[in-house]
């Protein structure tokens, strides 16, 4: 009977991680749907099958954002994230919503990676 508002829905990786217990945070891998640099938020599209979710993450200043597309990981700014980027993020729940701990850009959502 647990209810969460939209944009804060959970999905498989989160649950599986939680079930493995003692995980200090959840994680998600999905596509950036929107970036609001001034509000420091990103929305990540993900889900299980056709049960889709969009997760909104607050991204405080200082959260490491890394580009892992190249041979060497490189730090990038929030503004460098674009809709369609595939990211892997760790995050935790706060009273104000979900807060990112780390964000890694791992690719682009394209037919040919």
């Amino acid at each position: 009977m647990h209810r969460l508002p939209l944009l804060s829905l959970l999905f498989a990786p989160l649950t599986l991680a939680a079930q493995q217990a003692a995980a200090p945070h959840d994680s998600v891998r999905g596509a950036i749907r929107a970036v609001d640099v001034s509000a420091r938020t990103v929305e990540v599209a993900a889900g299980v099958g056709l049960a889709l979710t969009v997760l909104r993450l607050q991204v405080p200043a200082g959260v490491p954002i890394t580009d892992r597309e190249g041979a060497q990981p490189e730090p990038i700014g929030l503004a460098a994230l674009k809709p369609g980027d595939v990211v892997r993020a760790t995050f935790g729940a706060r009273p104000t919503g979900f807060v990112a701990y780390t964000i890694e850009r791992v690719g682009r959502m394209e037919p040919t990676p």
Binding site: I32, V48, V106, P111, P113
Partner: protein
């Protein structure tokens, strides 16, 4: 004849007399444990859920087998559901909005009495933002375990996004939001059968489970208090695993014996260029289940997205544009009673006639055939 020779002859005779696989049969070669999971999984697949056992509050059906039903569990059905999305072709990055924030992409057509009493609705309302609504028929799921076992590389080998070979066919892979290659669903969104099954419990029946532990919303709004009395998850991991085993191990129905007209139709199928998209055979890769390992599956699909032209276009979905659809598998076609993604065609001939875009050339070749050849092609399709 030697004793060894007698044994060989007996084995060959037994193989020759082996009953062809029927709709709903499991794959051949399962272990006893796999067969037991298949049988138990069929029980879950056939189970009818109620609000007390987790159904809803929003749902399209109360059992997997309510839709996948004709002629047996796992087959197709006559139910048609609603999907909606907004296509923004000029948007950078993701051009498709699946309306997740407004309850999409699947808008359920039924609600439980409790939700009806609370909100006065009979289905999930479509949001005003939805620019396109698509009808989606219920496909069969025969042979889906084999499709799941086809390596990505085998699918990508058929991709030709830029039509470099100049044949007018430019299949490209669908992708899920995490970048993995998609293969299930009419828009080739979902990478694995397990995810497709787990998600379907929540999307189609409102059954939360360890993979999807949260109910959907009503057009983006949380469910009213008291409308979902069953604790989450409403189905446990064991139920998910068994259901997956049933679907995964369902065999594709054996094609009918092709004689005369149907055999000639197979040649016509090739001459009209159909195999460019409806690739006759895919081969599975390594797999922990022996019955799925390194098998040829006569699926007649490339599992790629193709532009089918503006007349068939409806919604976008992730990378798939409104006019792009995954090549529909043709295995088991003889059991199908409505054709194309939305069921608008009532016969295979109609379905061919409605092919556009990359299918136009084959359609035109079909139209130009003598009547006997057209009939032969349809006879071939009706034998699958």
């Amino acid at each position: 004849m030697t004793r060894c020779g007698v044994v060989i002859v007996a084995l060959l005779a037994a193989a020759a007399c082996r009953r062809p696989l029927q709709p709903g049969d499991p794959l051949r070669g399962l272990s006893a444990a796999e067969r037991a999971r298949f049988d138990s999984g069929r029980g879950v697949f056939d189970s009818t859920f109620t609000p007390e056992t987790g159904l809803g509050p929003l749902f399209n059906a109360s059992a997997c087998a309510e839709c996948h039903e004709d002629p047996v569990s796992g087959a197709n059905g006559d139910e048609v559901e609603r999907h909606a999305a907004v296509f923004n072709p000029d948007s950078p990055g993701l051009k498709c909005d699946e309306l997740v924030a407004q309850g999409g992409p699947v808008f359920q057509d039924s609600v439980t009495p409790a939700l009806r009493a609370a909100l006065g609705i009979h289905n999930e309302p479509l949001p005003p933002a939805a620019t396109t609504v698509a009808a989606r028929t219920t496909p069969d799921v025969f042979g889906f375990g084999l499709l799941d076992a086809v390596p990505d590389s085998a699918i990508l080998a058929h991709a030709d996004a830029d039509d470099r070979n100049g044949d007018g066919i430019s299949g490209r892979p669908g992708r899920f939001f995490d970048g993995r290659l998609g293969r299930f669903g009419r828009k080739a969104l979902v990478p694995t059968l397990r995810e497709f099954n787990d998600g379907a419990f929540q999307i189609e029946m409102g059954i939360t489970n360890p993979s999807v532990p949260v109910e959907g919303t009503v057009g983006g709004d949380p469910l009213p208090a008291g409308t979902d009395p069953t604790p989450e998850p409403e189905l446990g991991a064991r139920g998910l695993e068994l259901t997956d085993a049933f679907v995964r191990l369902l065999a594709p129905p054996a094609p009918l014996k092709q004689k005369g007209e149907a055999r000639r139709g197979r040649d016509v199928f090739t001459q009209t260029g159909c195999p460019a998209c409806h690739v006759p055979t895919l081969r599975t890769g390594d797999n922990p289940i022996g019955a799925l390992r390194r098998k040829d599956v006569a699926a007649y699909t490339d599992l790629l997205l193709h532009d089918m032209g503006p007349d068939l276009a409806d919604i976008c979905f992730a990378l798939a544009t409104p006019s792009e659809f995954r090549t529909e598998p043709l295995m088991g076609l003889r059991l199908v009673t409505q054709f194309l993604h939305d069921g608008r065609a009532k016969t295979p001939e109609e379905a061919i006639e409605l092919h556009g875009g990359e299918g136009s050339k084959s359609r035109d070749l079909f139209r130009a055939l003598p009547a006997a050849d057209r009939a032969a092609l349809v006879a071939f399709l009706r034998s699958l």
